[in-house]
């Protein structure tokens, strides 16, 4: 056990990289989600089609294959990204594709009456989307966004395969150096679990913040507890 403590700085380094992947990946994923999700809502088929292709390709293929493709195959086409940047881009494209469907679904499920009220008031299509439909869809987007966020976080461990020195990579390295297999993997599990838990707390805070009809505290706590098994923070 003491050897692990000796190696703690290495794991800390890895955790910092993992958290950087998480933050940059999820921010980029959010941009991609709105870009692709809104594009897929377009009235024009030619605008919708590229978004649909992007979403289905990235949802329908393995992320580890996507990583290998971007890291090992793209350089042959003249595009070379460093490992960390490749990791951020692939995580964002992959999870962004899932989140794009969340964006599209949440906006599309708004009642037709909202659009009709906008037409009656003369609020045009762009403002209708920006000021009316998107803001009122946010509460419906947040719980599934939480799932995607935790998913993205857990998938950061895959970038170890393209030589990014993340938490998993460092854990594997420390294990090679110390042979403390059980302790090392237990430590990794706990760290991933604790960060996931913090992400759930963050998302629940956001859900409360953006709730259209803020409920009383007691029901909030109840719904928070109820939301836990579904979230599967430790899955």
């Amino acid at each position: 056990m003491s050897t692990i403590i000796d190696y703690a700085p290495r794991l800390w380094e890895g955790l910092v990289v993992t958290l950087q992947l998480l933050v940059l990946g999820s921010l980029l994923a959010l941009v991609i989600a709105f870009a692709a999700g809104l594009t897929r809502l377009s009235r024009h088929r030619l605008v919708r089609l590229p978004a649909a292709i992007f979403i289905e390709v990235f949802r329908g293929t393995s992320m580890i294959v996507q990583l290998f493709w971007f890291f090992y195959a793209l350089p042959f086409l003249g595009i070379e990204l460093p490992p960390f940047e490749t990791g951020v881009v692939v995580l964002a494209l992959n999870e962004g594709a899932y989140a794009a469907e969340i964006v599209r679904g949440a906006i599309k499920s708004r009642p037709a009456g909202q659009t009709e009220a906008c037409i009656a008031l003369g609020i045009g299509p762009a403002k209708r989307m920006r000021r009316i439909l998107i803001p009122q869809s946010i509460p419906a987007m947040l719980p599934p966004f939480g799932n995607v966020l935790v998913d993205l976080f857990k998938n950061t461990s895959l970038v170890a395969t393209i030589t990014v020195l993340d938490l998993t990579y460092m854990g594997l390295e420390v294990r090679t150096n110390t042979g403390e297999t059980t302790a090392i993997f237990a430590t990794l599990l706990v760290i991933y679990f604790v960060v996931s838990l913090l992400l759930w707390v963050l998302m629940n805070g956001l859900e409360r913040r953006f709730a259209i009809d803020r409920t009383k505290k007691s029901t909030r706590i109840k719904s928070w507890i109820l939301s836990q098994p579904r979230g599967g923070a430790g899955a």
């Binding site: 009642p111 009456g113 909202q114 009709e116 009220a117 037409i119 009656a120 008031l121 003369g122 609020i123 045009g124 403002k127 000021r131 009316i132 803001p135 009122q136 946010i138 259209i212 009809d213």
Partner: protein
Amino acid sequence: MISFDDVDKSWGPNHVLKKLNFHVKPAEKVSIIGPSGSGKTTILRILMTLENPDEGIVTVDGDELWNVERGRRIRRETTQMKLTRRKIGMVFQQFNLFPHLSAIQNVMEAPIQVLGMSKNEAHERAKGLLDTVGLGEHLDHKPPKLSGGQQQRVAIARAMAMRPKVMLFDEVTSALDPELVGDVLDVIRDLATSTDMTMLLVTHEMRFAEEISDRVVMFDGGVAVEQGPPQKIFQDPDNERTRRFLKAVLEH
């Protein structure tokens, strides 16, 4: 102010408007009554450009609402059309308030975003309107915190904030609990008596229609089967279908 000339509209096999000719004078208050599915609501929705007619010409204040292109009626998105549509306001059966905005924000939104009004001016106008409809105490409440009747009164204030020349009321009390209907009707009654807005009401509130209308139109099967002053329609209708309909709705 409003004219429908030979307007036709079908939903598949369902012929909801049959060569409709219908004209409304400025400041006239017209109630449209009739059985469900008779095309009453479609008239309002065509005026608000939420539906397009299959045939015919619809004008508001002298301007056409639809262009004919390759045999289809296309909603005109010209500046002129936007200005014409701005003359019309509509209140919906289901209120359709913006749920993420407070009562006063609901009313301020269009004046700021569409008319380019300053926040202060829009706030002042919205507050005045919400006071008028009896919601001065609930400016900052979001729609889910308001009763149906309160929501509908906010919706009326929201439509009024654009100062339309024509107001369309589409069964605005049908979704309300019976005890909340009165407050909403009071607000509409005030508007009817204190403004020179042209008003078109689709309603099942027969007593109310009789009280505030200049003219009542009985609709059935896609045609106006009878129209006239409310006293005439409600006390002594000529048409057999009008008589049967009124008997059915007024009997209970």
